[in-house]
Symmetry: C2
Subunit: 328 residues, 2 copies
């Protein structure tokens, strides 16, 4: 039996999103127990469900809370859900609340695992063939050393293997050029270290332009550049979708064209929406920590719950602990 803590108060769209997701999730997975943190009166629908425990919380974490505010907000559902993992050994925790607060609390309360200096925020993105690849760090840290990038590479590789089932993941460092000597000092240093240790699957550097072609299974970057990479990737993809829609609305002929071409574009849309699957995971702390988008729909939040289930079931946390130890 797996136990997952759910912060039910974080979503922009209210607790109903989380309540509905939990109901759907439990129908699918009888091997799971949910501990739901939130205002009791908003969670009544969960009261009589088997495998649900409700923890009444009087407060909601502010979406804009920084590190200090987060650490003080002890009565919030977010704070309590993370402490629940720490105190009770729950298998994982999920929230759609503010990223800064959630990352701070998860890192401070759960602590990084042995051999890992910093936790990394991980997400999955689709390449041009719709294949998902693993990117880390997309924003947990603004400064990263070469050694930390090596740790991210190791964690990303194990994640790709154990959770996504990629047998021999190809690991690349995001850089401003494909050659080994290209990059910021940290990236150059990480390249050198990874070459020296012969990390399995390490392929070298890759440029932002080549990433869409998708040879990489794992893309490793510092959090600052990683955040800019991710946001630009999502932003431009969205821009292009909007431009396509606008093109179709141009005149009567383009509107007729849309009716004929609709099927193809619906498939394209579905493929690009992959990027939203699962939100982001915080890798490197003593617990499985998943952050769903603040604006998640019930479908999105349910899908993020599926992600946490897969990670827990794959025993990814222990695999990463073991893997890091072996390489130390």
């Amino acid at each position: 039996m797996y136990t997952i803590a759910v912060d039910c108060m974080g979503s922009d769209r209210g607790s109903v999103i989380c309540v509905e997701s939990i109901k759907t999730f439990l129908k699918r997975h009888s091997d799971c127990k949910i501990v739901a943190y939130g205002k009791k009166e908003e969670l009544v629908e969960l009261e009589n469900l088997e495998n649900v425990e409700i923890v009444d919380c009087s407060e909601v974490m502010s979406m804009t809370a920084g590190a200090i505010e987060a650490m003080r907000a002890r009565n919030t559902s977010m704070y309590k859900s993370i402490v629940g993992v720490k105190d009770n050994g729950y298998d994982g925790v999920i929230s759609a609340g503010g990223t800064a607060a959630f990352l701070t609390l998860a890192t401070v309360k759960l602590k990084t695992i042995e051999g890992i200096d910093r936790a990394a925020l991980v997400t999955l993105l689709p390449n041009q063939d719709g294949k998902l690849f693993t990117v880390l760090d997309v924003g947990a840290n603004v400064e990263t050393t070469s050694e930390q990038l090596v740790q991210f590479a190791q964690m990303g590789r194990i994640y790709s293997q154990k959770v996504l089932g990629v047998k021999e993941p190809k690991v690349y460092l995001l850089s401003n050029g494909a050659e080994d000597e290209k990059g910021s000092p940290e990236v150059k240093g990480a390249n050198k270290l990874l070459r020296e240790m012969n990390m399995p699957g390490f392929m070298g550097n890759i440029e932002g332009k080549e990433v869409v072609k998708g040879d990489q299974d794992v893309l490793v970057t510092g959090g600052y550049a990683g955040n800019i990479f991710l946001k630009t990737y999502e932003g431009v993809a969205k821009m292009m979708s909007n431009l396509i829609k606008r093109s179709f609305k141009k005149n009567l002929f383009t509107k007729i064209g849309y009716l004929f071409a609709k099927k193809g574009f619906d498939d394209l849309s579905a493929q690009m929406k992959n990027e939203k699957v699962g939100g982001a995971m915080l890798l490197g702390v003593n617990g499985v920590v998943v952050k769903s988008h603040g604006g998640s729909s019930t479908k999105d939040f349910t899908s993020a719950m599926e992600v946490i289930y897969q990670i827990v079931k794959a025993d990814a946390l222990n695999q990463i602990k073991e893997g890091v130890k072996e390489n130390a």
Copy 2:
């Protein structure tokens, strides 16, 4: 009369691209003289043209030449064209050759202008409404200080005003969050400095996701993150175009849809191709330096020549020199 030095040997597609471009360019601009650097036998078509001087060069700079190789390649057309600007005071120089070699030579030979520590590579990108904005640095430097980012902001602002004709350019720092306290240490420092000096038009930080919406006229970033931003922007835009084309080929109906919708998509294509206009400029050295893409077509190279013409005609270099002095 303006004099522009053209390295005719850099293009992947051969000197014919540059020769054709020079012919077209001179038909349009009788106020310009071209000094064409290249193998004499490949430039015969230019021999009898008015306003063309040919400088015979026996060698071609290798596309992969690094800094040291570039500095030694004294007989190449690229080397000679840059030295030509230095020795003869030509107004500008353009090449489609290797970026690393060209940037090194331009920086070392022409030197940075007073008040500017480092030159920045500048390009224009279209936002979702097709409006072009100025981005710098997109890759001349892998490490940048806060003070250098401030200098980039100043140069970008003057460029936007004088060359693009934007009266009151809005200047943003690319960062991992919109708040002033978000960013790498350099970006945070630059934000603080720009606030303190009340730089006209400075709006604060902007995320990669918001850039496509295009409130910014000038986007300021260090070269490492800037390169990743630019390449991701171009890569994802290209990926989406390819996916659209693939969607249309799906079946008979989508193919019919394409025939109807074609006009709308041709406009979209044209709009996105804006990104290729002009290649990139190196701002901050004593000379107008434009780098055209290695794979430039005649149309692309001609358009890059138009860019250099506009910059020269706007007297942008002196405007930047004056502007930087005023703010010092």
